[in-house]
């Protein structure tokens, strides 16, 4: 099996720590399916507190905006985009309704 096929997929984890607050990104973990990802997220990121809401999303399913830091571009009107050779996109907190 080539390495890419044999690795467990990466999932990003979002946790709502208390009711009334938004889900916050806390990190990632490896799991093979959503059920496992949820269970593991609970074990790893919440240590079994009741009433927590957890979202897990495969990292590849997250679409992130470009850094968009205008200071990174020495010409703000320039449309050259500097791509960063990352393997995964880093998720920023995505606001669901």
């Amino acid at each position: 099996m080539n390495p890419a096929r044999s690795e467990w997929p990466l999932w990003e984890v979002f946790v709502r720590p208390r009711s009334g607050l938004e889900h916050k990104h806390c990190g990632s973990l490896h799991a093979t399916d959503a059920t496992m990802a949820l269970q593991l997220a609970r074990e790893v990121y919440t240590r079994r507190q009741e009433g927590i809401s957890i979202w897990v999303v495969p990292s590849t399913q997250i679409t992130a905006s470009d850094p968009g830091d205008r200071e990174m571009f020495f010409d703000p009107m320039e449309d050259k985009v500097y791509r960063h050779p990352t393997f995964y996109t880093l998720p920023e907190p995505v606001n669901h309704l």
Binding site: W8, L29, H30, A31, T32, T35, M36, Q39, L40, E43, V44, R48
Partner: protein, 295 residues
């Protein structure tokens, strides 16, 4: 040190307060074993407590060695839950016994014959012993499943126990057990229906452990006494619902349920397999070696 060198002064307990028990030593100067009563209520609670404790002890052998880091964390959580249940039950057992023994005296100073866990849980899970091969991850998850369903059914019924303390412990433990069932079932299905190798190993694990399941449903005078008093369910009452649930998981996993064996293990009566001796020797070693120690 000879047996006449019994400590006359009471050793200090954890909070610096004197404990009510003098620290007896055996002929070798090691902490001597305690003896306990044999009422049905006590034996019933110890059966549950010891089953949880020994299974937790076995699960901790995976610490740092699990197939994937995330599962190391998950297995530790299971062990912590079971350890918590064991501690609550042992404390309650000490109260029933009425000799002032706390959870640690009961865990660390009882001899093998006074341990009443199901023989099922003392079977190797990962590490082998001197004369027996170890188990693998399939053994672990299969055993987790069989035990978790049994515990869940037990806790559900204990919520209405005439023993208020048991009911209280059950109220908390049943939630944990439900999660344990989910977690184990998920793994048995993944392994049973994963690759050819995992399927083979899962089937082998089921075959290996199955003879020890009969004990989970075999009544004796303790079961009859406690069910008559409304303390808890007789083991036989758990068989049908257990079979239904376990069968469903095994079917989904695509493996086969072995035929019934006529062997009935007897750990719950204090007669164990060859494995418990090793487990207890390891677990109890420090307390035995440091009589009067405060930790």
């Amino acid at each position: 040190m000879n047996s006449e060198n019994r400590r006359q002064d009471t050793p200090r307990g954890r909070a610096g307060e004197p404990s009510p028990i003098a620290e007896p030593l055996d002929a070798g100067g090691r902490a001597a074993s305690i003896t306990i009563g044999d009422s049905p209520e006590l034996r019933y609670v110890l059966r549950l407590a010891d089953t949880c404790l020994i299974h937790a002890q076995r699960l901790t052998e995976w610490c740092g060695h699990a197939p994937v880091l995330e599962e190391d964390i998950a297995l530790s959580n299971l062990a912590l839950d079971l350890l918590g249940q064991a501690r609550a039950l042992l404390t309650h057992a000490g109260a029933i016994d009425g000799r002032g023994y706390d959870e640690d005296r009961l865990a660390f100073l009882r001899e093998e014959r006074d341990y009443l866990n199901l023989t099922l849980v003392e079977q190797p899970l990962r590490r082998g012993s001197a004369h027996s091969p170890g188990g693998d991850f399939a053994d672990t998850q299969v055993r987790n499943l069989l035990l978790a369903v049994w515990l869940k059914l037990t806790w559900e019924r204990l919520q209405s126990s005439s023993d208020a303390e048991l009911a209280a412990v059950a109220g908390k433990a049943v939630k944990e057990a439900r999660y344990h069932v989910e977690h184990a079932a998920g793994w048995v299905i993944r392994l049973g229906d994963g690759t050819q190798e995992s399927s083979r190993r899962t089937q082998a694990a089921i075959e290996r452990i199955w003879p020890f399941t009969a004990e989970m449903f075999a009544d004796d005078e303790v079961d009859r006494a406690i069910s008559a008093r409304g303390i808890g369910p007789a083991r036989s009452a758990l068989l049908e619902p257990w079979l239904v649930e376990v069968q469903a998981v095994i079917d989904e996993a695509g493996v086969g349920m072995p035929g019934a064996s006529r062997f009935i293990s007897s750990g719950s009566r204090g007669m164990h397999s060859e494995h418990l001796g090793f487990v207890l020797a390891e677990m109890q070693s420090l307390q035995r070696t440091y009589p009067g120690g405060v930790w």
